[in-house]
Symmetry: C2
Subunit: 329 residues, 2 copies
Amino acid sequence: MSSQIAPITLADLQRPVRGRLERVPQELHRIVEADFGLIAEVNSHLFQMQGKMFRPTLLLLADEATGGRDQRTITLAAVIELIHLATLVHDDSVDHSVLRRGMPTINSLFSHQVSVIMGDYLYSRAVIELVRLDDLEPLRVLSRVTNQMTVGEMRQLLAHEPLEFSEESYDLLIQAKTASLLSGACEVGALRASPAERSALRRYGEALGMAFQIVDDLLDYVGDPGVTGKPTGSDLREHKVTLPLIAALPRMDAAGRRQVQALMDTPEPDDPRIGEIIGAVAEAGGLDYARERALQLAQQADGELDALTPSPARDALRAAITYVVDRRR
Amino acid sequence: MSSQIAPITLADLQRPVRGRLERVPQELHRIVEADFGLIAEVNSHLFQMQGKMFRPTLLLLADEATGGRDQRTITLAAVIELIHLATLVHDDSVDHSVLRRGMPTINSLFSHQVSVIMGDYLYSRAVIELVRLDDLEPLRVLSRVTNQMTVGEMRQLLAHEPLEFSEESYDLLIQAKTASLLSGACEVGALRASPAERSALRRYGEALGMAFQIVDDLLDYVGDPGVTGKPTGSDLREHKVTLPLIAALPRMDAAGRRQVQALMDTPEPDDPRIGEIIGAVAEAGGLDYARERALQLAQQADGELDALTPSPARDALRAAITYVVDRRR
């Protein structure tokens, strides 16, 4: 949203922890290894859809920015990515998604059954690995996070009633669904830090995560499909109510609100109709409102970092905020 | 299978731990409590399908038979039942089952999505509760058990090729799918016992669990639908290969084996055809073989109990073996 010459890339953020980050995929392989053919097959497909490792990056930066005291960070970073992966596998199954990161999803490539079981497999492997570390603290944080994420998924199922879904419900939804894991990643990276630093990083991750989801929801309205990889207006097409619409609705007239409700009542709305609503939401200030809210949260996240001693890793955590709000996909 | 006058009932086994067992449902309610409407609604439906509490019974008896030293057994028993419940919710979703214990399943009453998310919710609540006990030991046992169960579910998906599915694969399947949780229940009930008692109870649970599944698979061939609550031959109808068929196949002639393969290749075989195969399996000695194997495992389980001091609880664990092999549903 700022207009820099050279936008911040993920690689920029990762520089202070590059060496450790490169060891995370191998650690992940070790943790999920299976001698049963079908599971090994699904695993190797999952490794091909390797993500951006944003959560492991945050975890490693949180450790680095608080003195780099934890010897277990590579394992913890792998576990964070594993929990994220398990969630994606179940999410894709729940949503009947066909593609993820440009690759066929497990449910489309294997079956719905395999997805449900595989998500359970991955998550229980994450728990086994945390138990192996012989410390209840990471488990305490991450079991709560995982539970929050399931509550977020349930809230998502009900986020289809535009005239009833409030901004407060939206905040609870994105906190649970998205911010909890980013917050957990930062907190688990700071388990050896002082309580003040640990709390600051937890709150940083929470604000960053909420901003992350709002930007995601904004990109669905204004993103370039060639860059985001999904058509504009997907959320409206699937009748998902997000912040731009929530903010716009009270500023629309009765006719506009009726139009929104009509779109929500149409099983498969067409592109011109979706385009109309996007236009109406923009005109009513819904996009500006959501952008403003993301920037507020970004500022909050930034403020939390003042609790840490200056370091290249802290700079990278600051840069992560810009990365999140400026991203185009 | 024995021909007693008065068969052993579940209530008989539960007598030595009746008082504690009665407190388990309330503890379960506390653990899964949710302030989000949809989750609370699914929870209250789950409570109505309240099972037989066989796993909590084993856990409490294991504790009682080894001195009753553990103060946490009511919570642990609730967690065991909760893990069982989470597994059932995902299993029903994977199998698209409509009924469970005579009640509509979560997937049929709510949706497939709600089932997947709810299973995750229940399991993560179980982990949170185990963390709260501030002891890694129950988590160490139960995270492995949960992972084994997912491997068992994967094996189940592949148990549809009668001419390729060996008895060894069947043993691995029922160990993972069924015996692991019964074994885990017994072991977690004996965490304060001596290592020898703990191991004996783990092995007792494993043998008991395998016998339990073999009897289940036998009942599918010979059970009275009025008592079991499901039609005879369901497994054959769904092309599930179990021990009676595995044992019968090598003793059938080529024509018989072709008939079996033909049934497996028929999408929806009719009752007369299923009846024919059941007859052929019986004639080839498949039912006798499976019965014999269940009795061997029962003997093994019985032998393990010799490691414990005589007590009413140990007697109840012995009676549990008879209960498992004699049951009609």
